[in-house]
């Protein structure tokens, strides 16, 4: 989780926004990786169950 806002000024707010947006992008990439890993594992399991070994 990001650290709390330390001050009220616009510069601090803008820097925190930049940090949050970057974290959001990185989180999206990691989430996509987790979803893709799940899909790959599921496909492998289905292939196995269908006798495609």
């Amino acid at each position: 989780m990001p650290a709390p806002l330390p001050a009220n000024d616009v510069a601090t707010l803008a820097l925190k926004l930049e940090e949050t947006l970057t974290l959001l992008g990185r989180c999206a990439v990691r989430h996509a990786g987790a979803v893709n890993a799940y899909v790959a594992a599921r496909e492998a399991a289905m292939r196995w169950n269908e006798g495609e070994r």
Binding site: N8, D9, T12, L13, E18
Partner: protein, 145 residues
């Protein structure tokens, strides 16, 4: 009379007993051979399934490895982009005007407090099996706020 009958019957009985013995020996031998064949077939199938399983696991490990490398590369690129490009440029723009760093011209304390409260009170921890468990330490209190 009985003795004469016995003398006539016993060679036949002997033949019948011998035939039954041979049949029983063949039956026993065939059963043992069949059991051996079943066991050998079971062992062959087990070895084949194990081999297929190893191959399937290796294929999946290769796929997962490629996915992990892709995610790490993108993640690192985003962190690097922020550190070397976005943040320095943003800092430069912010220092152009002093009003942007003046707390009196910024958001109120109340707004800041509410923004800080928006940071989710979620704690995530790695588990021994490699999974990650996330929980809200006090979900009830968070919902009441």
């Amino acid at each position: 009379m009985i003795a004469a009958l016995a003398r006539r019957v016993w060679p036949h009985a002997l033949v019948i007993v011998a035939v039954l013995g041979v049949v029983r020996w063949i039956d026993h031998h065939a059963a043992a051979r069949t059991r051996g064949e079943i066991e050998a077939a079971r062992a062959r199938i087990e070895a084949s399934v194990r081999s297929d399983l190893r191959r399937s696991e290796q294929r999946l490990a290769i796929t997962m490895g490629a996915l992990a490398r892709q995610v790490h590369a993108l993640d690192d690129a985003l962190a690097e982009r922020s550190r070397t490009d976005i943040r320095p440029m943003l800092t430069r723009e912010l220092t152009r005007e002093t009003r942007l760093s003046d707390p009196a011209l910024g958001i109120s304390d109340g707004v800041r407090e509410q923004l800080n409260r928006a940071i989710p009170p979620v704690a995530c921890a790695a588990r021994p099996d490699g999974a990650i468990r996330c929980a809200m330490p006090d979900a009830g209190a968070a919902a009441r706020q």
